[in-house]
């Protein structure tokens, strides 16, 4: 599964994307956030509890309770500021 980071989260994590293979008990976006925090200080900071960020599963906005089984790509990003 691919994980992608955007905007300042990309700089904080240190990579734009990475291939991961989480264990079976990581079932939702929220589970994945918790699991990713342990990967590095950058991950822990970018994905910190209380930080304002959103997620997408296969390029559709997803809340933290959305399942990730079978997903090809999960993305994390700060609030949108386009327009």
């Amino acid at each position: 599964m691919k994980v992608r980071y955007f905007a300042w989260m990309k700089r904080t994590v240190g990579v734009a994307e990475e291939e991961i293979d989480p264990p079976a008990e990581v079932r939702t976006v929220g589970d994945l956030v918790t699991w990713l925090r342990a990967r590095s200080d950058g991950h822990a900071e970018a994905l910190a509890e209380g930080a304002a960020f959103g997620a997408a599963v296969d390029k559709r906005t997803a809340t933290f309770d959305v399942g990730i089984a079978g997903a090809r790509e999960v993305a994390f990003f700060p609030p949108f500021t386009g327009g």
């Binding site: 905007a7 993305a75 949108f80 386009g82 327009g83």
Partner: protein, 156 residues
């Protein structure tokens, strides 16, 4: 019904001609053009300068999000034509960022749908602004005002 995400600038006249030509039911076009604003007055007196900004986006998701926003506008208003052109990449102060245009038989629908599209794309399409200021680069935070503007269109 046209959505484009592109690095290049666009020509407003050409875009609007293409949008309305051949459709004889359009009585009015409501249009919004977003520009890179150089001078930001904050809290009434403090002035920040933005020389340029870089817009990052999420290819693939951006187009899907804009299509969904546009489809929602068409469900809500009787529209004859819609256009969203949003740039990404680096833009200097004064450059165009986004063009949203709506054609309808009636101007009220055109204005409302155009405002709706702008409000929603600011809060629901994956774009992020990195500003270049005299004191360095700065990621733009989400504006509470934008969230409020978008929220007024939420169905009760």
């Amino acid at each position: 019904m046209t959505i484009r995400v592109q690095e290049a600038d666009f020509d407003i006249g050409t875009e609007l001609d293409r949008l309305s030509s051949g459709n004889k039911r359009i009585g009015g076009l409501a249009v919004f053009v977003g520009l890179v604003r150089e001078i930001h007055v904050r809290e009434g007196y403090h002035r920040d300068r933005v020389d340029a900004l870089t817009l990052e986006h999420y290819p693939g998701m951006t187009e899907t999000a804009l299509e969904e926003i546009e489809a929602e506008a068409r469900r809500r208003w009787p529209l004859e034509a819609t256009l969203i052109v949003h740039r990404y990449g680096r833009m200097e102060a004064g450059e165009r960022i986004v063009l949203v245009a709506v054609g309808s038989p009636h101007r009220e629908a055109a204005f409302e749908a155009c405002e709706f599209l702008v409000d929603w794309l600011k809060t629901k399409a994956p774009f992020w602004k990195l500003e270049e200021t005299p004191t360095g680069e700065k990621w733009v935070g989400a504006h509470a005002a934008d969230d409020q503007a978008a929220a007024r269109w939420e169905k009760k």
